[in-house]
């Protein structure tokens, strides 16, 4: 695989991989580290990588696994409040968000409470806007299971969100 092919096939996915990792590890710094490590890993495995049919699924799986490992190795019982939308975070300007940071944190907290596969399904569908088949390939579950997980996740989020919302303001 040439450097150009690597850039086109894998490096081009970095935003998606970053968001995926961030949703798991909750820290922008760790998510950045993950993306960097994964890219190097892919390059080191470039002979194998060139032959893979579903490259996005393969690399997203790797990213997810590494993110989970990093999370576990932190020995943290809770993910804590994800910093993804921190006010002081230079990479994301909150001025564009129409709601308060509290609301954003609420949604992230709710999502953090979801079982992992449900959270992944929501991440890949509602944020990454992937088709059910693509999600099924990455998570190695059936399309029907994806649909069920999305149904459950959305209803849990709705219930929790409306619950907290009524306390707010």
């Amino acid at each position: 695989m040439t450097v150009e092919e690597f850039t086109n096939d894998f490096m081009s996915m970095k935003q998606r991989l970053y968001r995926l990792s961030l949703s798991i590890v909750g820290s922008t710094m760790v998510a950045e580290d993950v993306v960097q490590e994964i890219m190097i890993k892919v390059w080191n495995k470039r002979v194998e990588a060139a032959k893979i049919e579903n490259k996005p699924a393969w690399v997203m799986k790797m990213t997810r696994n590494l993110s989970i490992d990093k999370l576990r190795s932190k020995h943290s019982k809770t993910r804590g409040i994800p910093e993804g939308y921190d006010v002081v975070n230079k990479t994301h300007t909150p001025e564009t968000i129409t709601q308060s940071n509290d609301t954003v944190r609420t949604i992230q907290d709710i999502m953090a409470k979801l079982p992992e596969v449900q959270r992944m399904c929501i991440q890949l569908r509602d944020i990454e806007e992937m088709k059910y088949k693509e999600i099924a390939d990455i998570l190695e579950i059936s399309v029907d299971q994806v649909k069920v997980n999305i149904y459950r996740a959305r209803n849990y989020i709705k219930k929790e969100f409306l619950k907290t919302d009524s306390y707010g303001v």
């Binding site: 935003q15 990479t91 949604i107 806007e129 709705k158």
Partner: protein
């Protein structure tokens, strides 16, 4: 978009039955200023999904990775010289050598069309060259036999592997 349409879409969304286009419609609707009062409670949620997809700056990561890669840059595919090619070349060389000696011999005996640089040959030299030619012929015959043996081996080997394009 019409309130009734949106209301239906929202219900469909909770039922997990919307397609990507419908979901996109919902996100667009909820990011606008004109959200119906009964639906404003959902606004933060759909806005969140839209916000979450915004791109961040990852240029430093890309630069770091590319730098590390350049130091380990792999050379372009190395050419694999197949056995068949070696055999073809050897055979060609053998033919060439044989032809050269043959022609050299012929030119000497005919005595016509000699280049300026060519020496006039004595009978002794002719005999010597003939001897040398015969020896070479014998040696080449031996090599040719070996090549045939090698060819058989190679053919055996090739049948076990995928075909080598060079041998077309």
């Amino acid at each position: 978009m019409e309130y009734n349409n949106i209301k239906d879409l929202v219900e469909k969304y909770w039922a997990g039955e919307t397609d990507l286009q419908e979901e996109s419609t919902l996100k667009t609707y909820f990011s606008s200023a004109d959200v119906h009062p009964s639906l404003t409670q959902y606004k933060p949620l759909f806005s969140y999904f839209q916000e979450a997809k915004k791109e961040v700056s990852l240029d430093s990561i890309e630069a770091a990775v590319m730098e590390q890669i350049q130091h380990k840059a792999v050379p372009t595919k190395t050419k694999v010289i197949s056995l068949g090619r070696i055999m073809k070349v050897a055979a060609a060389v053998a033919v060439l050598m044989g032809a050269t000696f043959f022609l050299y011999n012929q030119m000497g005996s005919s005595g016509t069309q000699m280049a300026d640089s060519e020496r006039v040959r004595t009978l002794d030299e002719e005999n010597e060259s003939l001897e040398a030619y015969l020896e070479l012929k014998a040696a080449l015959a031996l090599v040719s036999n070996k090549i045939d043996d090698g060819k058989q081996q190679a053919i055996k080997g090739l049948s076990r592997t995928k075909s080598i394009p060079i041998l077309k």
